[in-house]
């Protein structure tokens, strides 16, 4: 059974028929990558600015693209944009909406990039935010452990090895052990954030761009 959708508007040039419904079901990622809409729009706006700055797309089109993307952002946040599985993913859903808003100039946004570049960028931006959120959460937890440590700095308790009493410690000392552990976890998130804080835009799958683009 083939789906009723005509061949894909974004890449369907060489296709005579649309995808099977099951093909669409296994292929589409919009059900979950819609979560990346904010990062997708942010990265596209930056990409459009680059295309303008490099003289690849003229400034009128760049402005229309960047403004249109902001409109889409508000539409999504207001729950007004219906995502379509036929458009596969967040990138194509945004681009299709942009075309409806500003016309053929929307097609210039995808100059010099692939969806693989987009998703790599979106995901890095998202993970970077999550690393920040994790650090904030860990530090809040550290403060809670620290409050316990301060209250019971001199309250003796058993220290254990093998869950058998070993030597006396204090409640504060024990709580501080967790403060140190979680501090190392926050450090790991900072390290990971620094390592992935690079922009993957513009390899266009695996090559750079032609010199005279």
């Amino acid at each position: 059974m083939t789906s009723d959708t005509a061949s894909n508007a974004m890449w369907g040039g060489r296709f005579a028929a649309g995808p099977d419904a099951i093909m669409e079901a296994i292929n589409a990622s919009i059900a979950f990558d819609r979560l990346l809409y904010r990062q997708d729009i942010e990265a596209s706006r930056a990409h459009a600015a680059m295309l303008g700055a490099q003289g690849i797309v003229e400034s009128g089109d760049v402005e229309a693209i960047r403004e249109g993307l902001l409109t889409i952002l508000s539409e999504i946040e207001a729950g007004e944009l219906a995502f379509s599985p036929a458009l596969e993913d967040i990138h194509m859903n945004v681009e299709a909406r942009l075309r409806a808003l500003i016309g053929p100039a929307a097609g210039r946004l995808h100059t010099a990039r692939s969806r693989n570049d987009q998703v790599a960028t979106d995901f890095r931006l998202w993970v970077r935010e999550q690393a920040d959120a994790a650090i904030t959460g860990i530090e809040a937890l550290m403060r809670a452990a620290l409050a316990q440590a301060e209250a019971g700095a001199d309250w003796p308790m058993p220290g254990f090895t093998h869950l058998q009493v070993a030597q006396p410690v204090t409640w504060g000392h024990h709580m501080l052990a967790y403060v140190e552990m979680f501090a190392r976890d926050a450090g790991r998130f900072r390290d990971a954030r620094a390592r992935m804080n690079e922009c993957p835009l513009a390899p266009r799958i695996s090559r750079a761009l032609p010199k005279s683009w």
């Binding site: 292929n27 990622s29 979950f32 990558d33 979560l35 990346l36 693989n116 995901f123 993970v127 999550q130 959120a133 994790a134 959460g137 860990i138 530090e139 809040a140 937890l141 550290m142 403060r143 809670a144 452990a145 620290l146 409050a147 316990q148 440590a149 301060e150 209250a151 019971g152 700095a153 001199d154 309250w155 003796p156 308790m157 058993p158 220290g159 869950l163 058998q164 009493v165 070993a166 030597q167 006396p168 410690v169 204090t170 409640w171 504060g172 000392h173 501080l176 967790y178 403060v179 552990m181 979680f182 501090a183 190392r184 976890d185 790991r188 998130f189 799958i205 695996s206």
Partner: protein, 217 residues
């Protein structure tokens, strides 16, 4: 995320043990506990148990991703699309676990008297006794360990704790022992005697608390 989830799981396990009737080291707040549908007396540490379990889910996501990426040739393959849901899910549950643990820790009451009574049990100051033999009587640590072991055995066999042994009994184990030794056998003394950096002496603990407070400001 898995290391952080592992640490949360270890703390959660301690809370489960500590809040049990056998330990009673801590009392969890009602806000982070639940009751039983059949046993009216129960107050269960469900939040701690769920936090303890999150590491399975979060590390499972890591393993799933490693298996997806295994054997992929360069550059892009659609396989990689499978990463999103694992990472989204792991992040959601890590944030939830962090928030729940913070709430539990803020709310919980440590039962000071129970902790203190438990600290003195189980011959917990035996190492202090051995250290005293090294420091004050000049014994090699191996010999001090052996002498202390004999005293612990004597105490255990006669149903007493180390501070309850007489000086004569102590001296029978080693003639260099003096009455001064009783000063290191109390829990408070034991804790206060560890004064090097990061030690259990309350002064050192407060120093660390101040250091971390400053860092977290």
């Amino acid at each position: 995320m898995p290391p952080c989830a592992t640490h949360l799981s270890r703390l959660a396990e301690e809370l489960v043990i500590w809040s049990s009737a056998q330990f009673r080291f801590v009392t969890l707040s009602d806000r982070f506990s639940t009751g039983s549908s059949i046993m009216p007396q129960k107050k269960n540490p469900d939040a701690a148990e769920l936090i303890r379990a999150k590491v399975g889910r979060i590390t499972g996501a890591l393993v799933a991703l490693l298996m997806v990426m295994k054997g992929l040739p360069l550059a892009y393959s659609k396989d990689m699309q499978e990463d999103k849901e694992q990472v989204f899910d792991a992040a959601d549950h890590l944030m939830l676990a962090l928030a729940a643990m913070e709430g539990m820790l803020r709310d919980l009451t440590a039962n000071r008297a129970v902790l203190a009574a438990s600290a003195a049990a189980g011959f917990s100051t035996a190492t202090d006794l051995a250290d005293w033999l090294v420091r004050a009587a000049g014994l090699p640590f191996r010999e001090a360990h052996h002498v202390t072991g004999a005293l612990v055995r004597l105490a255990e066999e006669t149903g007493r704790d180390l501070p309850d042994l007489t000086l004569a009994e102590m001296q029978a184990a080693h003639p260099a022992i003096t009455a001064e030794i009783f000063g290191v056998l109390g829990v408070e003394n034991s804790v206060a005697s560890r004064q090097s950096y990061g030690g259990t002496a309350p002064l050192r603990v407060r120093e660390q608390v101040a250091r971390w407070k400053e860092r977290l400001e």
